[in-house]
């Protein structure tokens, strides 16, 4: 294999993107699909060429050679593979989604974004990584904004947090470089791990700076609030990509740098809590808090896209917890859940996009009964939430099982309890969404709604299959892990095509699937044999003889899905939810106020002389200051 293929993976989508800026919208969407086919082809051609390296060194600054190094690693290839499989399905979906009525100008930027994504997963030098990272950030901002004022408000919130993380990362990269004299990711990881014994505070600072960058991108606490804005307001077909793939960049970064650093740190250099170094234990709690916030917020959200965005936050929390166990089982569980979440959250958002495509609604209580008119979309959503809730025989069960196994192995019972709470909470919001949107009574408004167009349905069907396969045969995904684990010095995990072994037990996905299949069959037969149904029209409600119009209550308020969990809301009143958001808002407002104050100095001409005097005073003060 020529190393130029690596460059091609980055440059080709970017190039196509730039070209398609000048093309008509519809044509650019076709090009987008085409590019993804090419990318997928190249990625799978690279499957067995681990270690293939493309490097461009050029002299810059007095510091010596700057290298833009791309290489195929086990971890990088795994992320590339899952993301390009998911992307091609999303792009097939987008092809039909962006019809004359719905088309956005996102395709060119999305192509550039795909190039950047490939760049992130291929980079082996921090400079290349940073280039790809920034390219990804601002193109995604433009896609999320897509020319709509509210969308951009959400997008800039995301971008500000993400850019803050990026700046922290830039500082980290320089600190690493000054210490090690290398831009190489693998080399610096080793060096910084060794530095924990000799230069503890330096190593902690660097790791923390990188962690801020990755936490911000993955929406872990305290950056957990941006998905609910950005994922909700982004173009509907892009939300799938955003929630499926983009949220994983931070996870990739943690798995690439932060976790290996702590795994390689010599024993005895750091305080150990519950079998993991204390920063990892802190990460565990950060992630656990993230998942609780995500879950509770999702329960009380009425906007279906926003609800699923909160669910993504909760799931990223699980992944973070798995990573923080600092063990091969936890690392594998995190990768497994990453892959599964990519597909199941992708399919959930795809199904929601299909619903929005046909109905134009996002508020759940305005929908209902869509299963009758959109069966494929319904099935996709159903399987998606089953996977998300971690019910066998779908993929989510296996990865969640592995996460719990990893926690038990390290005896992190408190964290496990919290995760168990949010995992249970997931049932509350997921099945509520299913019920409110797809089951119940079909509103007369939507009686004539059709199933999603062909390509959208087709890609959803493939997504369903992809959710089933890792559930029944976990080995199709876990089989890749041992190479990755070995490359970071972790012990291998035991897994075959249809079984996995954890710390306390082992499970066989195929057997579980068979049992479940049987159970479903029995229930279905009982359903067929059961009593006849009586269908009720949506407006056929009992209102005690009162006319609701008198209280200005419209038909949508009859919907049982409206404020469904109001009764249990007081239970969570003690939680300081939204405190971080308030803090950020205060910060933003203080910057604005400070800016106004500064501007007001120069607004009045009579103050000009004084500013000069003050300036001289400032010079004197700073001059004599130590």
């Amino acid at each position: 294999m020529s190393p130029l293929f690596l460059l091609l993976l980055v440059v080709m989508p970017v190039g196509f993107g730039l070209v398609s800026l000048a093309l008509p919208k519809r044509l650019s969407w076709f090009l987008f699909f085409f590019v993804n086919i090419l990318v997928l082809g190249v990625v799978f051609k690279l499957k067995s060429s681990t270690g293939l390296t493309w490097d461009l060194k050029f002299n810059l600054f007095s510091t010596g050679a700057v290298s833009l190094k791309l290489a195929v690693t086990h971890l990088g290839w795994f992320f590339l593979a899952i993301s390009s499989v998911a992307t091609i399905l999303f792009s097939m979906f987008s092809l039909d989604f962006n019809d004359r009525k719905h088309a956005t100008f996102a395709a060119p930027f999305w192509m550039i974004l795909i190039g950047a994504t490939n760049g992130i997963f291929l980079s082996q030098s921090w400079i290349a990584f940073f280039f790809a990272w920034e390219l990804m950030s601002w193109t995604s901002l433009l896609i999320i904004g897509h020319g709509k004022t509210p969308s951009f408000k959400a997008g800039i919130y995301y971008y500000a947090l993400s850019f803050f993380g990026t700046m922290a990362m830039m500082a980290g990269i320089w600190l690493l470089y000054h210490r090690t004299g290398s831009w190489d990711i693998a080399t610096t990881t080793l060096r910084i791990a060794a530095d924990f014994t000799t230069h503890r505070s330096f190593a902690m600072t660097v790791t923390a700076l990188f962690a801020v960058g990755f936490l911000a991108k993955s929406a872990l606490f305290p950056f957990h609030m941006w998905p609910q804005m950005a994922h909700a307001e982004a173009p509907d077909d892009f939300s799938a990509y955003l929630s499926g793939i983009m949220i994983k960049y931070g996870i990739y970064g943690l798995a690439l740098f932060v976790i290996p650093v702590f795994a390689m740190t010599p024993k005895g250099t750091m305080k150990i809590i519950s079998g993991v170094p204390w920063p990892m234990y802190a990460l565990a709690w950060i992630s656990a808090i993230t998942s609780v916030i995500g879950t509770v917020m999702a329960i009380f959200t009425n906007d279906m896209k926003r609800l699923m965005a909160w669910s993504t936050v909760a799931n990223v929390g699980y992944i973070g917890v798995a990573l923080s166990t600092n063990s091969s089982l936890g690392y594998a569980a995190a990768l497994f859940h990453t892959a599964n979440h990519m597909i199941f959250k992708g399919s959930i958002f795809a199904a929601l996009a299909a619903v929005k495509f046909r109905t134009g609604e996002r508020e759940m209580h305005k929908l209902g009964g869509l299963a009758y008119v959109m069966p494929i979309t319904f099935m996709t959503f159903l399987l998606g939430i089953i996977a998300a809730a971690g019910i066998p025989p779908l993929s989510g069960f296996n990865s969640k099982w592995m996460i719990f196994q990893a926690l038990f192995e390290k005896k992190m019972v408190f964290v496990a309890t919290v995760i168990f709470f949010s995992s249970t909470g997931a049932f509350l919001y997921l099945f509520r969404a299913l019920h409110t949107v797809f089951l119940g009574q079909l509103s007369p408004r939507f009686r004539h709604v059709k199933e999603a167009p062909m390509l959208m349905s087709f890609s959803m069907i493939i997504l369903m299959i992809l959710m089933l396969i890792p559930g029944i045969f976990p080995g199709t995904v876990t089989g890749f892990f041992n190479n990755i684990l070995a490359s970071f010095g972790f012990a291998p995990i035991k897994t075959t095509l249809n079984s996995m072994t954890g710390s306390t037990a082992s499970i066989n996905g195929t057997v579980i699937a068979a049992v479940f299949g049987l159970a479903v069959l029995i229930v279905f037969i009982m359903f067929l044999l059961g009593a006849r149904q009586h269908k009720v029209a949506m407006m056929d409600n009992y209102t005690c003889g009162e006319d609701p119009e008198d209280w200005k209550v419209g038909p949508e308020r009859y919907h049982y899905g409206y404020d469904f969990y109001q009764p249990i809301k007081p239970l969570f009143a003690w939680m300081p939810l939204g405190a971080v958001e308030k803090l950020y808002e205060t910060l933003r407002r203080s910057i604005e106020r400070f800016g106004n104050l500064v501007s007001s100095i120069s607004a009045d001409g009579s103050r000009l002389g004084w500013t000069f005097v003050i300036g001289i005073l400032i010079i004197i003060v700073t001059g004599v200051m130590k």
Partner: protein, 501 residues
Amino acid sequence: MKYSIFLIVAPLAAAFTIPMLGTYLPRLSKLIAALMLLAGTALSAWLLTAYKAQTVIVIGGWMPPFGISLHVDLLSLISVTAVYGATLMATLYQLFDGQEKKPYFYMLILLLTAALNGMILTGDLFNLFVFMEIAGISSYALIASGNGAAGVRGALKYMIVASLASVAYLAAIAIIYSTAGSLNMATVASGMRDLNPVVGALVVLLILASVFTEMEIFPFNSWVPSAYQGAPSSVSALLSGAVTVAAAYVALRMSYIVFGQGMGDIIRYGKFNVTNILFWLGVITVITGQAAAYAQADAKKMLALSSVAQMGIILFAISIASDLAIYGIVFAVIAHSLSKLLLFMVTGKFVSASGTSHWAKWKGLGRENPLSGGLFLIGALGILGIPLFAGFWGKFSIIGAAFKAPGVSWIGVYIILAATVVEAVYFFRLAHLLFEEPETKPVSIKSSIWFRISTALLAAAIIGIGVYPAPIDKKVRKIPTELSSKNTEGYISTAYRAMGR
């Protein structure tokens, strides 16, 4: 190198022809101005490519320290080229896309160019004062030439602050002359060490106050928002693209050569620490500039305050005084000049098309005029220091330099990085607003072919430097050696050699 004198004299001479010609042949005089700037750009670019080693050019046979000499080195040639290029762009923009101006306008532009180049090239402190005054006076008039009351207001504000600054500067050189007996920069540099520390500190204080006024450093920058807003867009572009280049250069030369003896050797005057001043004022300027720009509703003021913040970063980098910091400064100054020119040119179009400089009213302008909107985005990305755009290398190496430097400069880095987030927000806010769905159909922009060519060139330069920085890098590599005192190629040694000492 002996042609370097023409970089100053030629625009000055051309400026004097305009009042005579302009009365009878206004078109010819405008042509002369444009051709002069084109020739100047070509000459400075040629000198830059032909550059071998730094030289001192003695004028009129009067040897320094008594006569005035020009000091040509790599950094000054790069700055001069940037000034010429920026002036040429701004002038073409005014000629083909701005309001009709009288020939005197172009005379002022030529005067300003001559003065800025003089500020950069001169090796004499009094000469510098003269050029600063010429630059100041021509900018007041240029600012006042636009937008009626707003222009006059801006010009007046600038004039008040700049007059205070020039008084301070004059006082400083009076003290220097009475003690050191010379105003040649290299001679003064060695004399400053022997000064009474209190007197030395006073001199530094007064000179810095005036240089900071030109360089838009807080709180000496109170004139900036009104002046940029009131000035015609071409003049705003000039202030941001050319004047700041010269001001940053002067600040650098003062700090490294006059207050110390070469780069990395900024001396202390008793308890008075110059590095500290540069560092903290740089940081304060970044914070105030970015916050004020964020709160700003007027696009031209916003861009002006963003220039302020960029100058703060550059001053911060000057305080670090290492090789890497010098790279950063050169890249940052060039990138800032290119991007701001582009931004002001496009903004000028938006202002004249929409009739307002309140950016909130520009919703959808980019949809109607995708080319202008795209150019604005490129300019914004260039300023922000996003990789693959020109600003990146500057910001990246300044941050690297600060982390490498001993002491507390890392505090400044974190502050600057945090302020950059604010900068990103206000630039993307406006860049995206241009593409948002408007309530009413936005106006379309008419632009001349020159506008398209020059903005395309600027955008290409921004992306070109971002993707392939090697050509500039190759040039910049020699600058730290030339500024240092410790080796024979350094500034002061060269100056002494010219004096025959």
